[in-house]
């Protein structure tokens, strides 16, 4: 089995290597002045484990949120780019049961609003072509605003509520892979997959697609 995998891998390297080197040879063409900045926006789906974004208590709660992002990047070389991004998601809502007494039943409702700021270093493959795959690595800091409302039900079912707001921050390193597909010299579509990591593995991830422009 291992031999077969090794042979398959070698065959793939041989087959892909030829086209990769051929493409590299095209880079002998004259150097051009690249635009140094890019700015884009994207929409996507964020999937999170129970360890991130407000830590839901009950099973079966929604684990997927819509996310919208704004990203700005600065090219240091035609391949290497520094990038910052802002991500917002829709509100996340979940309920936490509280210890019940014989005379009352209570639960706490959480309304979580995550906002993430990320910084990353990106390596973009190829030069001056219409499609650039890329890989990124960076850090995402998420500020989670958690509005809670605790309701206590007495035997007569009258409820009393107490509201509080707290903020927690989560810091996660991440890796991402994506594809920048250009329409023309400057305008592009960007699609990527991002995986944030904590000590137990992938803690959340996003799939995004959006538009941007180089300037």
């Amino acid at each position: 089995m291992r031999t077969r995998i090794a042979v398959l891998f070698m065959a793939l390297v041989v087959i892909c290597g030829q086209s990769a080197f051929a493409r590299q040879a095209v880079d002998d063409s004259p150097k051009v002045e690249f635009r140094k900045w890019d700015l884009g926006g994207s929409l996507g789906i964020l999937g999170t484990s129970a360890r991130d974004f407000g830590r839901p208590i009950l099973p079966g709660l929604e684990r997927y949120l819509f996310a919208w992002n704004v990203d700005a990047g600065r090219y240091f070389t035609p391949h290497v780019k520094g990038e910052v991004g802002l991500m917002r998601t829709n509100e996340r809502k979940f309920w936490e049961p509280l210890p019940a007494s014989s005379r009352s039943y209570s639960y706490r409702e959480h309304r979580v609003h995550p906002t993430s700021l990320s910084a990353a270093l990106t390596y973009q493959f190829f030069e001056n072509v219409f499609a650039h795959p890329y890989v990124s690595a960076g850090v995402r800091v998420t500020a989670v605003s958690d509005e809670t409302q605790t309701s206590v039900y007495s035997p007569t079912y009258s409820a009393t509520s107490v509201s509080t707001t707290s903020r927690v921050s989560e810091v996660r390193p991440f890796v991402a892979v994506g594809y920048k597909s250009y329409f023309n010299e400057r305008a592009y579509m960007k699609s990527d997959a991002l995986f944030a990591i904590d000590t137990k593995g992938v803690s959340h991830g996003t799939l995004r697609i959006g538009f941007g422009i180089d300037f």
Partner: protein, 125 residues
């Protein structure tokens, strides 16, 4: 060795062999000179070089011993001249959409399909 392994090796051979075979065939420069004379101005072509590189672009007629190509790049670059003796092959290519349009079309088809499936699902309820 199991039959399955033999099949895997055969598949690898048949995938890899054509590119190796193609790599060994070399045509003389006169062939490409004659080919160039029959190309119309602005034809979209791919030029493979003996050095291993390749360039996709638009053919520009010239009277000399060079083959002129305006490379198709995102940011415009100057016309490139190639010696016929440096050319390994010239292929006429179909100029497709820019990748951005392809991705956008794919997304539109995906979203449209999902929307239609939702509509169909709602209609059956």
């Amino acid at each position: 060795m199991k039959v399955q392994s033999i099949v895997v090796y055969l598949i690898i051979f048949f995938i890899a062999a054509p590119s190796f075979m193609a790599g060994h065939r070399q045509e003389p420069p006169e062939v490409w000179q004659a080919f160039a004379q029959r190309l119309e101005s602005g034809a979209f072509i791919r030029v493979r070089l003996k050095t291993g590189g390749d360039v996709k672009g638009y053919f520009i007629p010239s009277s000399g011993d060079t083959f002129r190509v305006l490379p198709k790049t995102r940011i415009a670059v100057p016309i490139r001249d190639f010696q016929f003796s440096d050319i390994k092959s010239i292929d006429r290519q179909h100029e497709g959409w820019a990748p951005g349009w392809k991705v956008l079309t794919g997304v539109a088809v995906g979203v449209g399909t999902a929307f239609l499936l939702l509509l169909a699902y709602a209609a059956t309820d």
